[in-house]
Symmetry: D2
Subunit: 290 residues, 4 copies
Amino acid sequence: MCRWISYLGSPLPIEDVIVRPDHSLIDQSLTARDLFLPTYAPAAQFRDRAFPTNGDGFGVAWSGRGGALGQYRQTTPAWDSQNLRHLAAQIESGCFLAHVRAAPGGTIAEQNAHPFVHGGWMFQHNGEIGGFDAIKRDLTLDVDPDLYPHILGNGDTEVCFFLALTYGLADDPVAALTRMVARVERARAERGVAAAFRATICASDGDRLVVLRWASPDGGAAGPSLFHSIGPETLHIGEGAVEQLPPDAQLVVSEPLELHWSRRHWEEIPEGTIGVFERGVAPVFSRLAP
Amino acid sequence: MCRWISYLGSPLPIEDVIVRPDHSLIDQSLTARDLFLPTYAPAAQFRDRAFPTNGDGFGVAWSGRGGALGQYRQTTPAWDSQNLRHLAAQIESGCFLAHVRAAPGGTIAEQNAHPFVHGGWMFQHNGEIGGFDAIKRDLTLDVDPDLYPHILGNGDTEVCFFLALTYGLADDPVAALTRMVARVERARAERGVAAAFRATICASDGDRLVVLRWASPDGGAAGPSLFHSIGPETLHIGEGAVEQLPPDAQLVVSEPLELHWSRRHWEEIPEGTIGVFERGVAPVFSRLAP
Amino acid sequence: MCRWISYLGSPLPIEDVIVRPDHSLIDQSLTARDLFLPTYAPAAQFRDRAFPTNGDGFGVAWSGRGGALGQYRQTTPAWDSQNLRHLAAQIESGCFLAHVRAAPGGTIAEQNAHPFVHGGWMFQHNGEIGGFDAIKRDLTLDVDPDLYPHILGNGDTEVCFFLALTYGLADDPVAALTRMVARVERARAERGVAAAFRATICASDGDRLVVLRWASPDGGAAGPSLFHSIGPETLHIGEGAVEQLPPDAQLVVSEPLELHWSRRHWEEIPEGTIGVFERGVAPVFSRLAP
Amino acid sequence: MCRWISYLGSPLPIEDVIVRPDHSLIDQSLTARDLFLPTYAPAAQFRDRAFPTNGDGFGVAWSGRGGALGQYRQTTPAWDSQNLRHLAAQIESGCFLAHVRAAPGGTIAEQNAHPFVHGGWMFQHNGEIGGFDAIKRDLTLDVDPDLYPHILGNGDTEVCFFLALTYGLADDPVAALTRMVARVERARAERGVAAAFRATICASDGDRLVVLRWASPDGGAAGPSLFHSIGPETLHIGEGAVEQLPPDAQLVVSEPLELHWSRRHWEEIPEGTIGVFERGVAPVFSRLAP
């Protein structure tokens, strides 16, 4: 129940995609348009039950100085954050992940804010593991005991991340993420959890983006929305103006960064798909078959 | 651009009106229904341009132990606050003000959170002084120099409060608030400010509520919504259940605390009105004629 | 590496022991005197290596309205908190726990702030489980699976609390706490942890205080300081003035609440001791023999 | 009652002076050594009344991308901040100011955190205007009315900054700062304020540092400590290791960044002095004669 974006391409100041587009991630923190929550009661009053608010924190992680990963997370809303605006104007990167959080009923803490960073990987998620309390212990026990003490928050995403790390994220990210999804589904089955696992996830080592979109086949609900950019890299920044991105820019987003977007520029990533974005080549998608 | 409630009556735990009703102040922090913002761009996507989000802080002030005023304010959203829920279950009062803030472009700080408390008075506001930057200095210079150093925030509401204190809020609250509104309107005229002063305000000394609703006559925009409760004091708390308030309960609210409210229970307070609520008697309204 | 106090007796506003004494808990947040940290490098410059600063958060839990437990926690320092002062002046209780945190290298989060509250019990701790990362998983696996999802933070204290709950804190608190200490010591032994488990702990159901002081026998370091009040219940509040507490007041504290205290008023609780404080009777101490 | 550092020289990651030295600014947030506060009661228990704690916030401002000024400020202590460590490792600059705040009795707010940034200038301060409440209004009225609405906090430093901007900081910083000091002293005299104005201040436009050290001649107290680096640019970073700074590095600091420093490397700046540091030349000091 969040919104995120991931960028891969020539370095640019992160404000170019986080702040300046007319439906930037900051705009999505206050007025998201495609966050459809059919079963979430507070969404009932909105058109198509699209919930607008992602006010439970913000985070960004990036490939930075000397290839090291930078990270900045806050628990307060993105929309009025002066620090966020200043940092977004100053930080340049060729690979970054950014996230605004909606965590109804969850724990608001820096340790629960995305993106998570560990072992040279960044990780962010939109969605939820339904009935997580019932399977949290099972899943956590599967985490490598050496990694276990590095789990600092209490949410579902971080457990998914550490499972993926345990399953070899660094060696074969597609296999590791697939196995993680399979493990969650097995736990749901073993504990009789009816609520779905719904997820759009991005993992990155600073050189490539590995993204997936998933909804439990038996869960009765669609997966969260996910798009990637194609074609001419321009972004509407308001008042009819556009901004030019580097020609090699690749973006993966929960919803397009523009209020009036076209399918020529943004293509939906189908459910049950895992995709790999590398520099200078077209993304490769395959079926996510856990 | 906020939502508030004020209560006067027999003491009750403040959660009974802040948390439990099905459209409580907490609910209004995330999904307000009557916050019509015709000129605020982010409101454009919502039905009737009713903006849902009041996520820039929460505060409550109350008549407490030995008649002293208590105060609690936070800059983070009300909707997920554990502290707020715990405190609301524990604090009992027969007179309290509570507020959720929306401050687009403003400064997020505890010092700017409502209700303000000074000199035995509590004060909260929904609305704005249009073009405040142009008249802030004029208005602030009118504040009693002895009171001046007690202004701790940087917003319009606190200046209104200290003007009212300067003009004798403790001696004659209706006259002081009226003079404050007149002073703001004079400043607007002197500096040629076109944007309106729109306000619903509540001031209280712990024994009575003095409330007003105002919009600059030349401003072209209606004042923010304001209601008071009448008749049988029950509140819908969800699932068809109701909660009984004390028979002497009086509520003044930005919008009714119930999703499906009736005009038998909630009466709108007209624009250009100032009202005084005292214990055990019907409220007295008069024309606000600055 | 914290300071705490616990109170049992006739109800009083909690400011009487948290704020007003001349070495109150707030004063201890900035200038503690007895927090001896022989192995903590930043303590080297202070007299007797007594570290003064407990600035990583504050919390209070109390027996409140209708016997329900209240809780308020913040991650910011106690010393300059306006909310803390206001709440302390308003909240009255006959049984409360309050804590200022020092968490060098730890995670600053509301979820890690003491006192913890669950299942009708409050729990706070000063000290640390040395080498916690090495045994955290073992200990956590011993927590009742039904309780497991209620662990929200990532620190050692919360695991101790949930172990005690698992071991029957509600039925026999002395036995449950003793078994918890034994479990930690066994884990240390099994994993070859040399660093000591050092703890002063208070658990309370709102009617009694159960306190313990412990240091691993093989750890080579003394346990943290712990005192309880005896005799005439007066507290120095500065400028030669004293404040009278109720005659039945019982206090247990990390360090006395007065700058110039006497052993007639404050008695040290020996290491390896567990004590039970009930209303109206003298505390009962026994040897903590895990 | 704070600690600050300013850097001018070839670009380096700011962690090299903020985090890595063995008495870095982060270390000074928890265990400052030269913050002598002869009249501050809580300092009484420390050796030479040197108060160790600067836990009321942290900030950094820097000359950044394209010469624009970056800014990051937080109200929570520097010592345990993960964001601070991450950002310090990523941000490179050839001119930056950083500050840890101690604000006993003051308002903890991002708007009060140093460095302040406005109109292309950065500004930070250690010290205080004694009796500020008595002269705040006089001083604030002297601020250019066009600048007035940009004052967002409520502290003395920001007023000093806006006075300096009003007096032509951009045109002649030495003259503007001198006039600001004179204005404060005149206000003290006019209102009969006995408490001293004590200050070490740094203003910078990203190309040079203008620093001053001042104590009211009639105030009876010395000015806060201030040092600048000279000679070989190495910093002790613990365990006998040293770090090499760029040969053109110039540092001005409240106290040396090393636990065991020598007067060959750090020279005290005398009271009543104003100094200008420019790239590649020796600093120029003159008498501050307001």
